[in-house]
Symmetry: C2
Subunit: 306 residues, 2 copies
């Protein structure tokens, strides 16, 4: 697959468990964008098709699309193998969408591609050993080592959210207790605060805002920071990144979140030192930016771009 010039308009689609985000992008310019709620099950493919159609209708000369999917993805065959959130199994997304849009469609895994975007164009530029960690509804990581994205053999590499750090801690969606995700995700922070205070919040950002005056909020934030730092410290000892980029919904909290996390990570890393910890550049748009890069460059590490 040839590499397209940066300025070529491409269709970029990030399929999330709740929202489909799509953009027509040329270089850094967003020519048009659309969002839709993700329907459950294989019907999601029709919704992705519709949103792409709508964007392509208003454009001409769009030679390729990049589509990123959650869960387990077979990028070689362009298949969504499994996603609990979307509720699908073995969906030939690449083939279906390519037939519908009449352009080649490059498919890959959402977290990996979002991390790739931060590595190539964002806060991870310039290093060959990197962890891009997204903390939002869940917690996951894209890992780069020696200038290559780690993919994993059995299963997908980078499942930081399911490293257990509190064996007697809260139950995780995966069935284990005390996963990083069950304590340190935005969802877990909001839930722990609501359970502890009896009051409801719109999200984790509210809990951070309350932490200065509210004892329950402070304790929830402290515990979430400690749990994430425990997971990151293990990651650091195992893959020794030269930099960690923190993104996902919780990154909107900014330095209120990052600063204590940096301190907690520093005290925990002894044999392999804690690397610099920086905020992501693209935030929630990292997936779409990566999908556009995927459309332009073709499949990652498959005889094409690194």
């Amino acid at each position: 697959m040839t590499v397209l010039a940066d300025e070529t308009p491409v269709l970029a689609v990030d399929v999330g468990g709740t929202t489909i985000k799509a953009e027509l992008v040329a270089g850094d310019r967003i020519l048009a964008s659309r969002r839709a709620t993700t329907p459950r099950g294989p019907a999601a493919i029709d919704a992705i098709g519709d949103i792409g159609d709508a964007l392509l209708r208003g454009a001409s000369g769009v030679p390729r699309a990049g589509v990123i999917l959650p869960g387990v993805v077979d990028r070689r065959r362009g298949v969504g193998v499994f996603s609990a959130n979307v509720g699908w199994q073995d969906v030939p997304a690449g083939a279906c969408l390519s037939e519908r849009w009449r352009i080649p469609v490059v498919v890959d895994h959402d977290v990996t591609v979002a991390g790739w975007a931060e590595w190539r164009l964002g806060a991870g530029r310039g290093v060959d050993d990197l962890a891009v960690v997204a903390v939002g509804t869940g917690v996951s990581a894209a890992l780069v080592s020696g200038g290559r994205l780690l993919r994993g053999g059995l299963g997908q590499a980078g499942e930081l959210g399911h490293v257990v750090v509190r064996p007697a801690g809260p139950l995780c969606g995966c069935g284990a207790r005390g996963c990083v995700e069950a304590v340190a995700s935005a969802t877990a922070i909001a839930q722990a605060y609501e359970a502890g205070s009896g009051r409801s919040v719109a999200g984790a950002a509210d809990v951070f805002a309350l932490a200065e005056d509210d004892v329950v909020a402070r304790s929830v934030v402290t515990e979430a920071t400690a749990a994430l730092a425990d997971g990151l410290a293990g990651l650091v000892q195992l893959v020794a990144p030269a930099r960690i980029v923190l993104g996902g919904g919780l990154a909107d909290a900014g330095e209120v979140w990052l600063d204590p996390l940096r301190a907690a990570l520093g005290t925990r890393c002894r044999v392999v030192a804690a690397p610099p910890l920086v905020a992501a550049r693209f935030g929630a748009r990292a997936g779409v930016v990566g999908a556009a890069l995927l459309a332009r460059q073709g499949p990652i590490d498959m005889g094409g771009a690194a």
Copy 2:
């Protein structure tokens, strides 16, 4: 650096914190071998030199040597950057030994090279995503992902021994509490048994042998297995290996050790499944086998062999 034929005799040296092991090897045949106690500090270089001289004296046509060092190693410059066990810092091992032996010397990191040997020639053959874990005096891992050895950016990748699994657990040599190494290494098992029973043992193998009848031994072994499984489960979620090879001194315990570890790992891996767990092929000789391969093939991943 050209790749030498398998049958070419090479000098292979594994410098450990307590013992220097050296062999003259041609293909699978050990032509001669020597051991010596490792002196502390830079004097270790003289001892390595002596042992190599003695082996080279009895041979002719040895074109190259492979030397592997513990701790932090700068393989590009052939320098032992730091080793707490040997007690040295910034020792130009490659240059010194090359001048003394009058042959090129390829230098690399001991755990990485021992893992490389298991990957290329041993129990890890045939997979592109592998963890080779050594459990002995310490606990460490060599990681292979996508057909490449992970090296790490800041520091050395694979420090599984310093992933914390028991935050309130025993103090580790690194200064943290409850590292995998502080609970699950052969050293930790022997110490925990001696502390719990008031009786002394020759090593961890004795504790395994006692575990059927002795309550203290059983509890120490159970806890060590659980702690190692916790660390491995984290490793599996992060790098998703297709196979785990278990080696180091404790591997001599065999299935008595591996079987419960397999079961414990299986119950802990949920999002990324537990891969098959097999015993290493080369045991304590993996380092020397890898050093011989290093001598034959030249530097790993430096424009040469993978």
